[in-house]
Amino acid sequence: MPRTGVFICHCGTNIAGTVDIDKAVEASRNFPGVVHADEYRYLCSEMGQDIIKKAIEEQDLDRVVVGTCSPRMHEATFRKAAAEAGLNPYLLEVANIREHCSWVHKDMGEATPKAISLLRAAAAKAALNTALEAPRLDVEKRALVIGGGIAGIQAALDIAEAGYEVDIVEREPSIGGRMAQLEKTFPTLDCSACILTPKMVEAAQHPNVNLLTYSEVEEVKGFVGQFDVKIKKKARYVDSVKCTGCGICWEKCPSKAPSEFEMGLAKRKSIYVPFAQAVPNVPVIDRDSCLYFRKGRCQICEKECPPQAIDYEQQDEIIERRYGAIIMATGFDQLDPTIYGEYGYGQHPDILTGLEFERLFNASGPTGGKIVRLSDGKPPKKVVFIQCVGSRDKARGMNYCSKICCMYTAKQAVLLKEKVPDAKSYVFYIDVRTAGKGYEEFQRRAAEEYDVAYLRGQVGKIFPEEDHLVVRGVDSLSGRLIEINADMVVLAAASIARCDAPEVGRLVGINSDSYNFFNEAHPKLKPVETHTAGVFIAGACQSPKDIPDTVSQASAAAVKAIGLLSKDKLQGEACTAEVNQAECSGCLYCEAVCPYSAISPVEIEERYHGGTLKRTVAEVNPALCKGCGSCTVACRSGTINLKGFSNEQILAEVDAICLQR
C-alpha cells in the first residue's frame, strides 16, 4: 500500500470560496492509501512548498496529491518541491480543483463533493504512478535559418555573433529578400539598399555564417537539438569558386526572360544575378529561357567567361547536415489584384501594385529611377492610390489588415512629389492606421506638406478613357461621388503568406493559421516560439510586418535559438509511449498515426516451440516521442502504454469517481 499525502490549496478565496476545504481534507483522510492530509492558503508559496517537503520527510510519504490550480500553472513548481524532498517528481499528482471545479461552480454544496471526487481520482492514479526519468539529449551547436531576407539575415548575424555556426538557406540566387526590392524605407526615408547591403555583405563574410543560396530545404527529420536536414542546392550551372562576378556572361547573353526581382516590369538575361548588389555575386542560368538548354546551341556565356566558370553539366546537390535549432524566416508575397475586376489590374499598364510602383523609383529599376507611365513614358500628373486592396476584405480577400500599406502609400506619395513636383496624389482609404514610432507624424506630413489628398472612401470602378484612367470613387465624409482623371493608379495589394507556406511548415513540423501564416506558440508570451521545440519564427511569415518589427522579431528568435544552443544537454519528455513487444502484433497502426515519426518497425527474435521465430513489432524512440498518446488509442491490442498516463492509471481514476457511491 502506498503512503500518500494529500495537500489542498485555498488559493485565497479562488478555491476556498466555493469548496469547503475542511470537508475536503477530512474526506481525503479516508481515501485508500492516504496517511496524511493538510491544507494551506497558498500552496505554491515558499511556505506552502515547505509544508509538502516537511511532510514527505516526516511522514515518509511515497506519493503526493496536490489539490490546486491546473497542472499547466504549477505542476512544475510542486514536482520540483517533491524532488527537493527526495521524491521522484513523477510520483506527484495534481488534482485541478480550481479551473475544473471552483471557478466553474457557484454553489459550495455542489462544488465540494466534486472537488472530493477529483482528489479521490488523483489519489487512485497516484497509487499507480511509477518513478520516471526524463532522457538527456545532445545539442548540435549549429542553427539553420530558412529564408535570407532581412529577418533571416538579422537572426543569422545575431547567432553568429554569439559564437555559433549558422547556415542560411535561400531559395533565390541572392539573399536580400523583399527589403532589397524597396527604394526607401519609412518613416525616415533612408535608402533601403544603403542599410541592407552592409548586412548582406556582413553575412557573407562572417566566419560563422554559411550562405546556401539558390537552395531549398527538402526534408527535416529529428527533434530539438538534433534536426537532420536535407538541403537541395540547385544547379547554378556556374562554378561559384571560379566565378569572379565580372558580368561579361550576362552582358553577352542573347536571351531574356521577365525579371522576378523587377516584378516582371523589366527583362533579365537567361544567365543573371537578380540585382546589382546581389550576394553572392554569382549568376545562375535559368534553364527555361536559356537557348542552350532549350535548343542545344548558343553557349556564348561559356565562350566569353574569362575564368571558364560556366558548367552546363552541373547537377543539383543534396547537402545533409545536423542542426540544433531552426529559424523560419520565409517572408511574404503580394496578393494578385486581378480578382478585383473593377480595378482593371493587368488590363492597363498604368495600373500597378505598390511593390511594382516601388521599383519605378529605383535607379536600377525598369525605368532607371524615372517616374513615368509605362504606357507612354510621360511623367504622371495625377496618381490615385487605393488602400485595402484585398486587406480587410472578408468577401474576396483577406480578413486582416496588412499593416504596412498606409505607411508605404504615404511614403510613395511623398517620394512622387519629390521626383515629379507638379504631381498630385489622391489616396482612397478606409481608415489610416499609422501606429509606430514617427509614423503618424510622417503620414500627417504627407497630407499637410506634400499636398496628398486623403479621401475617405473606396473606388467602385476604374476604366480607361482617351489617355487617362477614370477613377470613380466616393468620399464618404462629404457624401460625394468623386471622379478623378488619373494618369496612374497604385493598388496597395494585401500582404499574404507565401503560397507554399503550409508545405514548408509541414517540413519542419509547424502549423499555420487560416491565412497560412505560421502560428506562434502563444500570441503574447511566446511570439517567436512554435509548438515544435527548437523551431522559431521571425518576420512576415508569421503575419504582415514592417522592417522594425521584423528585425526585432528576428533578434528575439535568435536569442531563443542561442539559449538552446548554449545548453550542453536538453531534458527530454519523461512521459513517453512504450510498447510491450511480447503482446504487439506488429500491425503498425501506431506508426501511421504518430505525428512525430517516433515509432518504427523492428524485428525481434522469439523462442517458439523450441526454435526461434523472427517477427516485426513496433518500437518507440523516446527522444522523438512527445507523449501525445495517439498511438495508445490506435493500438488494437492495447499494448502501447503512455508512461505516467497508462490505461490502468486512467481507469483507476474513472473507477475512483464512478464507484464511490
Partner: protein
C-alpha cells in the same frame, strides 16, 4: 439595434429579420456608393443608408427615396468587402416600411365568417403578415 433614445427600432428589427443582413458588419468604406450605378439619383447613398441603420434613424430611413430607387442590380453586394448583401437589405427596408408605416388595416375580428370561408388561406396569412402590426 436601438434608436437614439435607446428603444429598439421595430423597422430595423423587421428589416434584419427580412433580409438576414446585419448593418453592424459595415465599416463604412463607401465601396457600395462608389460602385452603385444610380448613386447620383439617391437622396441617401447606400453606405449612408447602412449608417442610418447603425444609428437607428428609422424615421429618416422611412422618408428616404433610396430604397425605392434601388434597382437590385447587386453591384454593391458583389463589391462589398464585408460580405453584406445590400440589395437584399434594401428589399428588407422596403418591406419593413410597408409593414410598419400605417396602423392595422384589418384584423381577424373584422372578417365575417363568410369571408373567412371564401378567402384563400395563403392570401389571408400574407395579408396579416403585411398589414398587421
Amino acid at each position: 439595434m436601438t434608436t437614439e433614445s435607446g428603444k429598439k427600432s421595430r423597422l430595423i428589427e423587421e428589416m434584419k429579420a427580412q433580409s438576414g443582413q446585419d448593418p453592424n458588419s459595415c465599416y463604412q468604406c463607401g465601396k457600395c456608393s462608389a460602385a452603385c450605378p444610380v448613386t447620383a439619383a439617391l437622396d441617401l447613398m447606400p453606405h449612408q443608408v447602412i449608417r442610418y441603420l447603425q444609428l437607428g434613424l428609422e424615421d429618416e430611413l422611412a422618408e428616404s427615396k433610396t430604397p425605392w430607387i434601388c434597382a437590385s442590380c447587386f453591384t454593391c453586394a458583389a463589391r462589398c468587402p464585408r460580405d453584406i448583401d445590400l440589395a437584399r437589405m434594401m428589399e428588407g427596408i422596403r418591406l419593413s416600411v410597408l409593414r410598419c408605416r400605417e396602423g392595422n388595416k384589418f384584423g381577424p375580428a373584422d372578417l365575417t365568417p363568410e369571408q373567412l370561408e371564401k378567402l384563400p388561406q395563403q392570401a389571408l396569412v400574407s395579408g396579416f403578415r403585411k398589414y398587421n402590426k
